[in-house]
């Protein structure tokens, strides 16, 4: 519990990597729950975007020189990994949207629970 107190009294202190990781963790968990609970296929896609952004937040925070406070430092790896994640997310969204539109055209529905043709 003591460690959670580091997130408090932020108004007079500089934010650190841990604060960014906490924001990223909230976005990651929201995205994972979106992927698990949404029935609309596009909602699942939005959950994926949230998960990728939550992970990106960690890359950016660990690659930032002004947040760095000793320990391991990602340096240029951090922002470049974040850029690659952004580009791959764009690619993933394009393909996933094409698949979703195909599913919608073939089944006249966008409910992921209806996509059970491969079920044995």
């Amino acid at each position: 519990m003591d460690s959670l107190l580091t997130l408090a009294n932020l108004l007079t202190e500089a934010p650190g990597v841990a604060h960014f990781m906490a924001v990223g963790a909230v976005m990651f968990v929201c995205g994972a729950l979106c992927m698990a609970t949404k029935r609309n296929a596009l909602g699942v896609l939005m959950g994926i975007e949230l998960v990728l952004n939550g992970a990106n937040m960690n890359f950016v925070a660990f690659g930032s020189r002004q947040l760095h406070n000793g320990g391991n430092f990602l340096g240029l790896d951090g922002p470049l990994m974040a850029l690659f994640v952004i580009v791959l997310a764009a690619a993933e969204a394009a393909v996933a949207l094409a698949i979703v539109l195909n599913f919608y055209n073939n089944h006249d529905s966008i409910d992921v629970d209806r996509a059970d043709q491969l079920q044995g």
Binding site: V17, A18, M27, L33, K38, L80, A89, A90, A94, A98
Partner: protein, 198 residues
């Protein structure tokens, strides 16, 4: 000493926006509202990237993610938003299991993030004295294969100063293949050719 440190205030604002709209994406059942909340959440994330000193990544987040990927998603929403698909309720059992698992995962992640002393914030006065560095040039040179950020470090045998040219090529070809594939998948179905009657 207890002056308000303004970057922290902006961190709190952007962090609250990003987290709040992420939770709103999860809680709302309306797909159009989900798309709108997602745009706001990702834009606030770009603000957090700027606050971390990564201005180039923040700009790319706004350009590619908010300006490109999410517009694509909103096109998807518009193409499929028939009356019965706009609002699809999640079942109560799913909510129960999901929120339990999500709370446990969030607790674990936050505990892990705050338990390392090196990951806590620096002294505010120390941070204010740091030079603001531009990040676009080292990233661009790194993508071309030259690490200008390591140029002053002493040469050691076990440090490999490699750039990111190979990664850049792989991502480029991946993007090309993916776009061709997406165009192939999403193409309009050709109607069966009517047999010409002669």
């Amino acid at each position: 000493m207890n002056q308000i440190y303004w970057p922290s205030v902006f961190f709190l604002i952007f962090g609250a926006l990003a987290c709040g709209f992420a939770v709103a994406v999860l809680l709302t059942a309306n797909i159009v509202r989900m798309a709108f909340y997602l745009v706001l959440s990702l834009a606030a994330t770009a603000g957090l990237f700027f606050l971390a000193g990564q201005d180039f990544v923040g700009a790319m987040q706004l350009l590619i993610y908010v300006g490109g990927t999410l517009v694509l998603l909103i096109f998807g929403v518009m193409l499929t938003s028939q009356e019965r698909f706009v609002s699809m309720k999640t079942m109560a059992g799913d909510w129960l299991i999901g929120l339990g698992a999500g709370a446990a995962l969030l607790f674990l992640l936050v505990i892990a993030a705050t338990s390392v002393p090196n990951w806590r914030g620096r002294d505010a006065a120390e941070v204010q004295q740091m030079q603001v560095e531009k990040t676009a040039a080292p990233i661009a040179m790194g993508l071309l294969g030259a690490r200008v950020d390591q140029i002053n470090e002493p040469a050691q045998a076990n440090i490999v100063r490699s750039g990111y040219l190979l990664h850049f090529e792989i991502v480029s070809i991946h993007l090309l293949v993916v776009l061709i594939g997406a165009a192939y998948l999403a193409r309009a179905k050709r109607k069966p050719a009517s047999v010409p009657t002669t």
